[in-house]
Symmetry: C2
Subunit: 131 residues, 2 copies
Amino acid sequence: MSGKIGILAIGHGSKLPYNKEVVTGVAENIAKKHDDFVVRVGFMNMDEPTIKDALQSFAGTGVTTIAAVPVFLASGVHITKDIPEILGIEDGNNQSSIQIDGQDVRIVYGKPLGAHELIADLVFERAREAL
Amino acid sequence: MSGKIGILAIGHGSKLPYNKEVVTGVAENIAKKHDDFVVRVGFMNMDEPTIKDALQSFAGTGVTTIAAVPVFLASGVHITKDIPEILGIEDGNNQSSIQIDGQDVRIVYGKPLGAHELIADLVFERAREAL
């Protein structure tokens, strides 16, 4: 076993194309920068692949752990309840495991983006572009 | 007139505290790093101050232009319709003006965060923290 790490970028999903475009673009950027990680996207609702299908799409990659990270700005019910339920993560826990290729794969659940300095830098850049 | 620039960080708003916490934290971070700008927050719905109240809260600051930036990941109806309406921005345009302290103040409308490299860096950081 290679012990490779997967990253699952989880989007909210939308009837419009923009959320999927952003989450997919972010995942492509991570994959390009970090080619030792296996990167996939999955959507909570309204877009495909679903989170469950995205987890199974790590089949054949040899990942032993998947970091599932919500590409959401802030916490909320989707982050604390809906997505953990889909990932099989119980209350008060931040990990679970699933079977992929007949092997146990550990899932660890990341935090949403939050009020990180990088978000502030990007909002400032968006302000300057508009001026 | 000083020709000072204002930045209005616009949040979605939520019944839960998290969206307001993130948008406020982001605004504080910008204000700390860039003290030549006047930074305020406003919310589209469910939180206060409203966008309209936030615009008027630039009174007394001497700003002549306000960059209104949605702290949203992706575009969508809120970005293309709801928020421009509140800002008085017409279709196909990205600016308007309002009266503050009896003076015309220009409003320019920024883009949402999007699939920027900084978001990818932050999602990758959130993945690594979880591992």
